[in-house]
């Protein structure tokens, strides 16, 4: 069968594109390698989730889909999906949008013009987006309304030009949030409740948040967390125009000629190979799998991959470095109310002295006890015996941590390539991840770490700990940048419409398009940009 539009990946970008295109009347085929994961499948396993994947995770992929990580010292390691070096995103209908915490930040106007504002540091590929905040603003509004965002409209409007209020009020301050709000006031900082893709009121026939506290990494028990799995994808299917096939792994994009995609070849769970044809093909497989698929679709005229005409495909891989400081208050401050995050500041996203960019800082989602034990215990506390047990009992109710995503300075050397010596269960070369964050990202993270410490100090912590981060590669669930948009084909993979340069009908709609990744959780921008791209495809008559 021939479809009008074929979309690879039912995550954030693909889910939105499916709804916009199906509602325009297009016949859409939406292929997802994962399953319809639901709360009923959720085991709430504290060791096997997308917050702590110690021995596995609650969605796919399985171990038949490894990757290879190249460390900065040149050593190579095969990574399974639950290993940290895999840089996994959930494999399911809705992808990570059904497991995330749902921080729903817009990027700031200056996040779209980083090179203009800061120049291009040596060794970096810092650049402006080909579009501006104003181009994306109408789509931010639509996503906030159509998926459902709870936020502080007045505070937001002071920083982001916006036409309408959020559809729901923000989550209430937790006890920690009230302490940090007072501290911010003493410091003269502006702090307010982060916008969240979580219902604070019944919305679109689904319930309000039950404050369970297991947001990040888990499915929502009352379906109050808003992703594409419970909004845009059901909308797409409800039109009768969208066929969703799960457990369908796309092997390659098929080309009719050098400039025209004709469809894809995919394999289903029973091992059967299929070919589907479409007039327009959209890849929304996230910033590691999207370039991998395009590379694995190489042809004689695109020998290193579709869209790799200028050796840009797979480069500029970025995510977010997270500085974190953890402090202990004299008295208990834990009230157990989920989602946990309730106050943040964007005062340091730009205009910092001698620092490029910056980032958002906020309190944290409720921390699993085992995550506290593994990641948050100060180094000098013994990991065994009465001292360890006593510290857990004393510190867990008293700790506050401040963290947040730092805007990374992209580098072309952080990249996705193919590893032809390691193949997945279908015999397809796997993604090979290499490179490391730019030194300016480390410097900005160190600066933001001082701000996190300042905030905790003002809150009255008795002590605090945590070192500024100095990671190798950064990607993770915020992965972005590997098919960057641009007006110049010499320095980009797609044009401003998300269409791959030189191919008339092949698009990308996911975080791969991000030229830079903001100092914020990127999902609202991925969702809004996918809406914009799909809207453009509709407007141009597909």
């Amino acid at each position: 069968m021939t479809y009008d539009v074929l979309i690879v990946g039912a995550g954030a970008g693909g889910g939105v594109a499916a709804a916009v295109l199906a509602e325009s009347g297009a016949k859409v085929l939406l292929l997802e390698r994962g399953t319809h994961f639901t709360y009923a499948d959720e085991q709430s396993d504290h060791l096997r989730n997308h917050r702590l994947s110690q021995y596995g995770q609650n969605t796919g992929p399985d171990s038949g889909h490894p990757r290879v990580l190249v460390n900065p010292d040149g050593s190579e390691h095969v990574q399974l999906p639950h290993h940290g070096g895999y840089h996994n995103n959930a494999m399911a209908v809705g992808s990570s949008t059904m497991l995330y915490g749902g921080q729903a930040w817009r990027f700031m106007p200056d996040d779209f013009r980083m090179q203009t504002r800061y120049g291009r540091p040596a060794g970096s590929s810092l650049a402006d987006w080909p579009i501006t905040y104003a181009d994306l603003a109408p789509y931010y509004e639509r996503i906030e309304r159509e998926l459902g965002v709870a936020g502080d409209s007045a505070q937001s409007a002071e920083r982001w030009p916006r036409a309408n209020a959020y559809p729901m009020p923000p989550v209430p301050l937790t006890l920690r949030g009230r302490i940090l709000a007072d501290a911010a006031q003493r410091l003269g900082w502006h702090a307010f409740t982060p916008p969240l893709l979580i219902n604070t009121l019944p919305y679109q026939n689904r319930r309000a948040c039950a404050k369970c506290g297991l947001c990040v990494g888990f499915a929502c028990p009352v379906d109050a967390k808003n992703g594409t799995h419970n909004t845009m994808i059901p909308r797409a299917v409800a039109t009768g125009n969208c066929t969703l096939i799960t457990e369908a792994f796309v092997l390659r994009v098929l080309m009719a000629d050098a400039h025209t995609a004709s469809g894809v070849e995919y394999v289903t769970a029973d091992g059967t190979h299929h070919v589907a044809h479409a007039a327009t093909v959209i890849i929304s497989a996230s910033a590691i799998e999207t370039p991998r698929l395009l590379m694995n679709s190489a042809t004689s005229t695109s020998p290193t991959g579709l869209g790799n005409h200028s050796d840009q495909l797979g480069r500029h891989l970025q995510g977010h470095v997270y500085p974190r400081s953890i402090g202990l208050m004299k008295n208990p401050v834990y009230d157990g109310d989920g989602p946990g995050v309730s106050i943040g500041t964007v005062d340091f996203n730009h205009a910092n002295p001698n620092v490029i960019g910056g980032g958002m800082l906020a309190d944290e989602f409720i921390t699993l006890p085992i995550v506290f034990w593994k990641r948050f215990m100060p180094p000098e506390v013994p990991r065994w015996g009465k001292a360890a047990k006593d510290f857990m009992r004393y510190a867990y109710p008293r700790f506050i941590d401040i963290t947040g995503p730092v805007q990374e300075i992209p580098t072309p050397d952080a990249r996705v390539t193919l590893d032809t010596s390691v193949r997945d269960r279908y015999g397809v070369p796997v993604a090979r991840l290499s490179g490391k964050v730019h030194p300016e990202s480390v410097r900005t993270a160190a600066y933001m770490h001082t701000k996190a410490r300042e905030w905790l100090e003002a809150a009255g912590v008795e002590r605090q700990w945590g070192n500024p981060p100095n990671p190798g590669l950064s990607a993770g669930q915020h992965q972005a940048g590997t098919c960057r948009m641009g007006d110049d084909p010499a320095s980009s993979v797609t044009d401003r419409n998300g269409k791959i340069h030189g191919i008339t009908n092949l698009y990308v709609a996911d975080g791969s398009l991000h030229v830079t990744n903001g100092g914020f959780n990127p999902v609202l921008t991925i969702l809004a940009n996918a809406y914009r791209i799909a809207d453009g495809i509709v407007a141009r008559g597909r």
Partner: protein, 136 residues
């Protein structure tokens, strides 16, 4: 998987890693049950290291105190663990002593501080003690 002596050593080690005070310790919470299950599944690759460690701990106890590890007083057991944790060993160790003890301590924490379903946090013992509540 382990012989009776090794099992006794493991249970003693668990209780020293997560000792009983006014809150139940590792054994009362079921960490031994958790670890056996873990070593038969995701932790199968660790069995040899565990076995070597349990044997070496007994050898250390024999050399230092003339008795098996499980017969040591809490003070002596803690002293021995502290020494081994700092790589002050006398017996033959077929694996790295300090890092293996740290690994086992982490596995014990994984049993004790995670969901009771796994068997190492019976009745939510650890969660009650720190104030964590899973409202699902």
């Amino acid at each position: 998987m382990f012989d009776a002596t090794q099992l006794a050593t493991l249970r003693t080690l668990i209780e020293r890693f997560i000792p009983t005070d006014d809150v139940p310790g590792g054994i009362a919470a079921g960490v031994d049950t958790y670890l056996i299950g873990f070593l038969q599944a995701d932790g199968a690759g660790f069995v040899l290291r565990y076995s070597q460690t349990l044997t070496a701990l007994d050898a250390e106890a024999q050399l230092r105190h003339g008795m098996v590890f499980s017969a040591l007083s809490a003070v002596d057991a803690d002293g021995l663990i502290t020494a081994v944790w700092n790589n002050q060993t006398s017996a033959v160790w077929l694996c790295d002593a300090a890092s293996t003890l740290a690994l086992i301590a982490e596995h014990c924490a994984e049993g004790f501080y995670t969901d009771p379903r796994h068997g190492g946090n019976a009745r939510g013992t650890s969660w009650h003690s720190i104030g964590f509540e899973e409202r699902r």
